[in-house]
């Protein structure tokens, strides 16, 4: 289907109106800024309902195949919807691990039965998905994951533990990286990938209190938990390949995601606006030359990031190192958000010491909370240091350690 500019503009207008009319009012409790922050049942129910509503309006999974519950439409329409969600400052779309990581993976590599079983309920938020990659002893070194999966008849028996499991306590399914062959030639070849059910005897999730004081993720224990053998994705030994593909979707380095905003980015302008209100030496803080320099640097970095998104598609301007921009987006975006929140906190002068919960905290302590939460993206999904290794090796051709 060829879309004209007019078609796109008409569609955008329709979407804009829909979000104007349907974006929910402030519910009166704190809403998460990232999908990783969902911590209370109240937040969870609210966001799950919101996702269902957006899906039912036809605005999620628009480019996924119709036979599995998608919209069968061009990707550009979904991109327009996502842009309009950002513009309308809607709540985020929560089932990210399903929509943007597991979903595209299942569509790309899953069996027909797996696609039929999982895709639609990912879109409706009926089934929440989580990711079981990291373990207490193996995080950045994901290839060393040790959770055991032993074949027993037409089942696998799971033993071990996963940790930092986002949505662990809400999830019905987990994308799970487990070791099926401890004797393999190397650590990668011993791994397999499962679409594992969570409501199984022997699987237990324990909430972990985050640095903000809230709850958000869990440790997940597997104690002789039995799952059907056909939960495997691909065949035994293909786990590492599947995990790497998942990470490509997760980091946005490949397309195929269902869409929707997963992280609400703060804009530098919001901090600039605050700097105009806050006082320093009896004058607006924005007049302070050191602060001005910091703000301008942030504005430059924000601009470079959004221009980079445009330039990434322009062959003559990125031909020398075509992977440089796609592989650095997660690193750059997450670090910028962290620095921005840091400046926003310091800007508050004496009041920077207020935390959420205090009636005098600026914007209910939003920036303090954002600063701490910003580490979710600089650590999760592969830390910033690991991203730098990847860029140094894959883009610059520097040798591995």
């Amino acid at each position: 289907m060829e879309l004209t500019e007019q078609d796109r503009n008409d569609f955008r207008a329709e979407v804009r109106l829909w979000f104007k009319e349907n974006t929910p009012e402030d519910p009166g409790f704190v809403l998460p800024q990232t999908f990783m922050e969902v911590g209370t049942d109240q937040q969870f129910e609210f966001l799950r309902n919101w996702q269902r509503k957006v899906y039912e309006a036809g605005y999620l999974g628009m480019a996924w195949p119709v036979e599995y519950g998608g919209g069968g439409k061009p990707q550009v329409l979904q991109d327009i919807v996502t842009e309009e969600m950002i513009r309308a400052k809607t709540p985020l779309i929560m089932n990210t691990i399903g929509l943007n990581w597991a979903g595209p993976l299942i569509l790309a590599k899953g069996s027909e039965a797996q696609k039929k079983a999982y895709i639609k309920n990912i879109l409706t938020a009926e089934d929440i998905w989580c990711q079981g990659f990291s373990e207490p002893d193996n995080g950045s070194d994901l290839g060393n994951a040790q959770l055991k999966a032993e074949r027993d008849g037409d089942e696998y028996v799971l033993n071990g533990s996963k940790i930092w499991t986002t949505h662990g306590s809400y999830a019905k399914y987990m994308i799970l990286l487990a070791r099926t062959n401890p004797q393999a030639n190397n650590k990668y070849e011993g791994l397999s990938f499962f679409l594992s059910p969570m409501q199984v005897e022997g699987i237990k999730t324990v909430p972990i209190k985050k640095l903000t004081g809230e709850y958000g993720f869990t440790q997940t224990f597997f104690d002789d938990a039995r799952i059907p053998a056909d939960c495997i994705m691909g065949s035994e030994g293909e786990g590492w390949k599947m995990a790497m593909l998942t990470l490509t979707f997760e980091r946005g380095a490949a397309g195929g995601q269902a869409g929707g905003v997963a992280i609400l980015y703060a804009s530098v302008q919001e901090v600039v606006d605050m700097a105009k209100k806050v006082q320093r030496n009896g004058r607006p803080a924005v007049e302070d030359p050191v602060l001005r320099d910091q703000l301008v640097r942030l504005l430059m970095d924000e601009k470079a990031l959004s221009l980079g998104g445009i330039r990434a598609g322009m062959a003559p301007l990125d031909s020398e190192r075509p992977l440089a921009l796609p592989l650095s987006e997660k690193l750059q975006g997450s670090e910028l958000q962290r620095r921005l929140a840091d400046v926003a906190v310091q800007l508050q002068g004496a009041n920077m010491a207020y935390y959420m919960g205090d009636s005098e905290a600026a914007e209910n302590g939003r920036w303090q909370r954002s600063y701490f939460n910003a580490f979710s993206a600089t650590i999760g999904g592969g830390t910033s240091q690991i991203q730098k290794n990847i860029i140094g090796e894959r883009v610059l051709g520097l040798p591995k350690a």
């Binding site: 600039v272 700097a275 924005v286 221009l307 975006g333 730098k388 860029i391 610059l396």
Partner: protein, 376 residues
């Protein structure tokens, strides 16, 4: 991860694409590092026959309207020529001549334009004499003066960093006239003996001169537009920074590759040094700075002249380019170890270039300050 796309986009024309490719090949061929180094001690500092080839390719006329013999494109297209020059450390009077042409287009009289622009297209060198000993980047801060006497202008004072002055057929000189800034087009022949004094420039690929104006007399029709010249000076300032950003951006690409080559071949403790993270991660930071520079630069190239947005874009480009090249070249020296401390290591060439680029119409903090005024 999703980014909000900016409403505007990067306008990259077919012409820019072609020029970028042609200039990349041209500079690679004509400006190998041995050639760059052989010019360091050359009095002229550039190869006249290559300059003529550039004129034949029409490069000096890229941003000059067709009626004067140019190709009628804009400075955005010139950016695509200058970036590869910076990468190859290729130097010539190209930037100063292009800027002089822009000054004439912005503020020259009809007869000045008719006389000089066609010559520039054919290869005449023109140069700008704008800065002064006080080192201020404010082009309106002028101590050199012109006095009107009997239909003539009598100039006095000293201008600094006049590029390729001995090769220039004319200089465009800024002075204070009746307390207001003015620009004067000075024929090279009118310069008194000894007016040009070669400067020792930190960037040895450059040729710059102090010009002593004392005793210089020119006819009063040598004045550029007698109206308010401040907008013209501002125009030159912006154009200079756009081209400077392009040249510095190229330099980052050059020094990045130069350092990577070393990190991929030099071994210590039985390991390639590029496998050490304090080097690897620093190189990644430099790459990210380079990518940011190019995004800002080509965005700025595409919206040059578009009022505030164009100015914001090019100041961001210059600030980013200047800071990134300084850092990249500083680390390049360090990462070459003892060899980095030698004259033979090319890292110093780029570090010197970074200082020259920062000195040229504003360094990174200067532009960030201006950006603060525009954005905050």
């Amino acid at each position: 991860m999703l980014n909000v796309k900016t409403e505007r986009t990067i306008n990259f024309s077919d012409e820019q694409e072609q020029l970028l490719e042609i200039a990349t090949n041209f500079c690679r061929e004509k400006s190998e590092i041995a050639q760059v180094r052989s010019l360091l001690n050359d009095e002229k500092g550039f190869a006249p026959q290559i300059w003529l080839e550039m004129a034949e390719l029409g490069w000096m006329g890229v941003a000059i309207p067709e009626e004067f013999g140019g190709s009628g494109l804009g400075l955005g297209e010139v950016v695509a020529l200058v970036e590869p020059m910076g990468r190859a450390l290729f130097t010539s009077p190209f930037i100063t001549t292009t800027l002089a042409a822009q000054a004439l287009l912005a503020g020259g009289t009809q007869s000045q334009q008719a006389r000089w622009l066609p010559r520039i297209c054919k290869g005449a060198v023109l140069s700008l004499a704008l800065s002064e000993l006080h080192g201020d980047w404010d082009l309106s801060n002028l101590t050199a003066t012109a006095l009107e006497k009997n239909g003539q202008l009598e100039l006095s004072g000293t201008k600094t960093f006049v590029s390729y002055a001995p090769d220039a057929q004319a200089l465009i000189v800024s002075v204070s006239l009746n307390g207001a800034p003015a620009l004067v087009l000075v024929d090279a022949e009118a310069l008194p003996e000894g007016a040009l004094v070669r400067e020792t420039n930190v960037d040895e690929t450059q040729r710059t001169y102090r010009v002593v104006l004392d005793g210089l007399r020119v006819p009063s029709d040598a004045l550029l537009n007698s109206g308010d010249i401040v907008p013209v000076l501002n125009q030159i300032h912006l154009a200079a920074n756009l081209l400077s950003a392009a040249e510095l951006s190229g330099g980052i690409g050059g020094v990045l590759e130069y350092t990577l080559d070393y990190l991929r071949t030099r071994k210590q403790f039985d390991r390639l040094i590029g496998s050490y993270q304090s080097l690897k991660h620093t190189m990644t930071d430099i790459l990210l700075g380079y990518e940011a520079t190019r995004s800002h630069l080509y965005y700025a190239a595409g919206c040059f002249g578009a009022d505030a947005e164009g100015e914001i874009a090019l100041r961001m480009a210059k600030a980013q380019a200047s800071e990134t090249l300084a850092y990249a070249a500083d680390r390049a020296i360090q990462f070459h170890g003892g060899f980095g401390f030698t004259y033979d290591c090319d890292a110093q060439l780029y570090r010197r270039r970074a200082i020259w680029g920062a000195s040229f119409h504003g360094d990174a903090p200067f532009h960030r300050q201006k950006l603060g005024d525009l954005l905050l």
